[in-house]
């Protein structure tokens, strides 16, 4: 088993009375992609932002390489952490400063960290990063508005890579892009992951892309992780009724199956104090009461083909 790179324990992020993230725990292993899916308001983006310390968390602990992310830190260790963990944002229009050139945007990180001070070296690193994300070195002098949406997202990715991080949180990185451009960006992320041994937390509402890119998937609903497991297990043998409902709503480019589609509505059974996370199969976790888990598991097993 790969090394644990990130551990989230009982994370709570409340905004006033809103429990955006309500007591979630999970781990991310080195080199994997963990997909975090959910609908708007599920708390998936807040989770990402809390992990990278864009928010001060309400309660719980986030450990990165066995060090507390939110603990008291000196400047030196905060800088080291910032190098290790980077973020790619959803909106490639809002997340790039319109007054900076692509080169300046990409270089901002290492300028702050005092890296690549030699002018020639700095330029060379910018060129390498641009090329790594499928742009070319001439693009360094252009401003954000001179790029298409897909190209802007590539700049956002180049910026995230500039400090050579090991862990990247990608918050809906493709939602704002056209289908064919989404595929380009997803392929790029996969390629970079292989080349640089990156670990991804991939946050999205599009279950089909998440299924494609992720090794494991966590499904969030109302601030809780309701199900977490291997991507194929979540997709082929979901246990939690919310996951089943979510999967049943994805339209496929297949008119025959669409004509027969039956959506499974999700009727929340309410949250109770006796609901906990159960490991129903090895590595497959579901949130519910003992009784609920028994019932759901029996339902799933009726349709089960493969065994663990």
């Amino acid at each position: 088993m790969a090394n644990k790179i990130l551990e989230v324990r009982n994370l709570k992020q409340y905004f006033g009375t809103v429990k955006a993230v309500d007591d979630i725990s999970f781990e991310v292993y080195e080199g994997e992609t963990l997909g975090l899916v959910g609908e708007s308001g599920s708390g998936k983006s807040t989770t990402g932002r809390s992990i990278i310390r864009l928010y001060d968390i309400t309660d719980g602990e986030v450990r990165f390489r066995d060090e507390n992310v939110h603990g008291r830190k000196n400047r030196q260790s905060q800088m080291t952490f910032n190098k290790e963990m980077q973020m790619i944002f959803q909106d490639p229009y809002a997340s790039l400063n319109p007054r900076m050139t692509a080169g300046e945007i990409i270089a901002e990180g290492f300028d702050i960290h005092g890296m690549h001070k030699d002018k020639k070296k700095r330029k060379e690193v910018i060129s390498q990063l641009l090329e790594a994300v499928g742009l070319n070195r001439e693009h360094a002098g252009r401003y954000a508005h001179e790029f298409s949406g897909g190209q802007r997202q590539r700049i956002g990715i180049a910026r995230a890579l500039s400090l050579n991080p090991s862990f990247i949180i990608a918050d809906e990185p493709i939602s704002a892009l056209d289908v064919s451009i989404q595929a380009q960006v997803v392929n790029l992320l996969k390629k970079l992951q292989k080349e640089r041994n990156l670990t991804f937390l991939f946050i999205a509402h599009d279950l089909s892309m998440v299924k494609y890119i992720s090794d494991r998937i966590a499904v969030m609903h109302h601030g809780k992780i309701v199900e977490l497991g291997d991507a194929n297990a979540i997709y082929n043998h979901p246990i939690h009724p919310y996951t089943k409902s979510l999967l049943s709503a994805i339209p496929l480019p297949d008119p025959i199956s669409e004509a027969k589609r039956t959506r499974i509505p999700y009727i929340p059974e309410g949250v109770s104090a006796t609901q906990t996370t159960h490991e129903v199969y090895p590595g497959h976790y579901v949130f519910g009461t003992d009784e609920q888990i028994q019932v759901w598991k029996a339902e799933t097993e009726k349709g089960r083909i493969i065994d663990y």
Partner: protein, 349 residues
């Protein structure tokens, strides 16, 4: 034979900008039959939204110009109608559902009043009381619980999905023959999207409304469409029944779109098929076929001459030189074909 309610002939829409004239829609032809759904699919800049806005005469002039073509609706050419004549059709005989329900609604006006407004404007036989009753009925029809109470609420008191239902109620208020829905579910969560689509289909079954559904999501297209028009660079590049487009696509751009979608049943170690590059500049559209530069199957003629529409079946057309009798036989790319075979096999079970 289906009764045709709308026919678009060689429609061309330009926009004058400082950089030059953008040819946003470059000769589009299609018809829509009563009670049927035509999905127009394409990426940003393909001209799909401009086309739909053009049908409602919502293109601001200037900078927009109806450069050429006809929009025949119920025997009239909408291009030639004055704005005054158009206001009698818009919201009445044809209505539109927009992408973002928050900006489509007036935030300072109770939703019930926004529905009543349409009824009172277009249905002269309604009294104020009657219009109110009808508005409450409409809220009920689009699946909004407690319609009497909801009638007096403001848009911000509704969730995204409920707001879109209100927008649909407004669109339905005058019993239009044609509904134009421009990405009506794009801003919504996937479970809410499914509900809104079910609602639109139910409306269609009950009142035999024709629907033009504009979207970039091929899954949604497969769910809603009787006919599909694939747009690229301001033109329709492939047109056919939903089954023809999804199970026997003929245009390389359609292959690219289908290949870009992840296949949920397959291993994820393969890369997705992508369309390299980006769409052409429509100020100076390229010579020849607009897709040539991104088309791995492009031939010399693609760079010289724009391809005509070739007939595949009497209902299926594609604008690619690959269908010319003298062209080499290029089959559907393997990974796309494999997926289609998978779907068809599953369909037979």
């Amino acid at each position: 034979m289906d009764e045709i309610i709308l026919e678009v002939k060689n429609l061309k829409i330009n926009f004058k900008t400082n950089a030059g004239t953008v040819q946003a829609v470059r000769g589009v032809n299609f018809t829509i039959a009563k009670g049927k759904t035509l999905a127009i699919v394409g990426e940003s800049g393909s001209g799909k939204s401009v086309t739909s806005n053009a049908l409602m005469k919502l293109i601001p002039q200037p900078p927009g110009i109806y450069a050429e073509g006809e929009i025949l609706f119920d025997g009239r050419d909408l291009v030639k109608l004055t704005e005054k004549e158009m206001t009698k059709i818009r919201g009445n005989e044809m209505a539109m559902i927009f992408q973002d329900p928050m900006t489509a609604l007036n935030p300072t006006m109770k939703v019930g009043k926004q529905i009543m407004e349409v009824i009172l404007k277009h249905k002269k036989n309604f009294s104020k009381e009657g219009a109110k009753k009808r508005a409450i009925e409409l809220l009920d029809e689009v699946g909004i619980p407690y319609p009497e109470k909801r009638f007096s609420q403001y848009p911000h008191e509704f969730s995204g999905g409920m707001r879109q239902r209100v927008v649909i109620a407004i669109a339905l208020a005058a019993n239009p023959k044609l509904l134009i829905a421009d990405e009506p579910t794009t801003a919504l969560d996937v479970t809410i999207q499914a509900q809104i689509i079910e609602l639109m289909k139910e409306i269609q079954r009950n009142s035999n409304t024709s629907i033009i559904f504009i979207t970039h999501d091929l899954g949604v297209v497969a769910n809603v469409a009787d006919y599909v028009a694939v747009m690229y660079a301001g033109q329709i590049v492939e047109y056919g029944t939903a089954n023809e487009i999804f199970y026997n696509p003929r245009h390389p751009y359609t292959w690219g779109l289908l290949g870009s979608m992840p296949d949920l049943d397959n291993k994820s170690d393969e890369l997705l098929r992508t369309i390299p590059g980006s769409p052409p500049d429509l100020i100076n559209p390229p010579k020849g076929d607009a897709f040539a530069a991104r088309n791995e199957f492009a031939m010399a003629i693609d760079y010289e001459k724009d391809s005509p529409m070739f007939e595949v079946t009497p209902t299926h057309f594609a604008k690619t030189w690959l269908l010319h009798p003298d062209a080499p036989n290029v089959p559907i790319p393997e990974e796309v074909q494999k997926r289609i075979d998978g779907y068809l096999q599953k369909g037979e079970q």
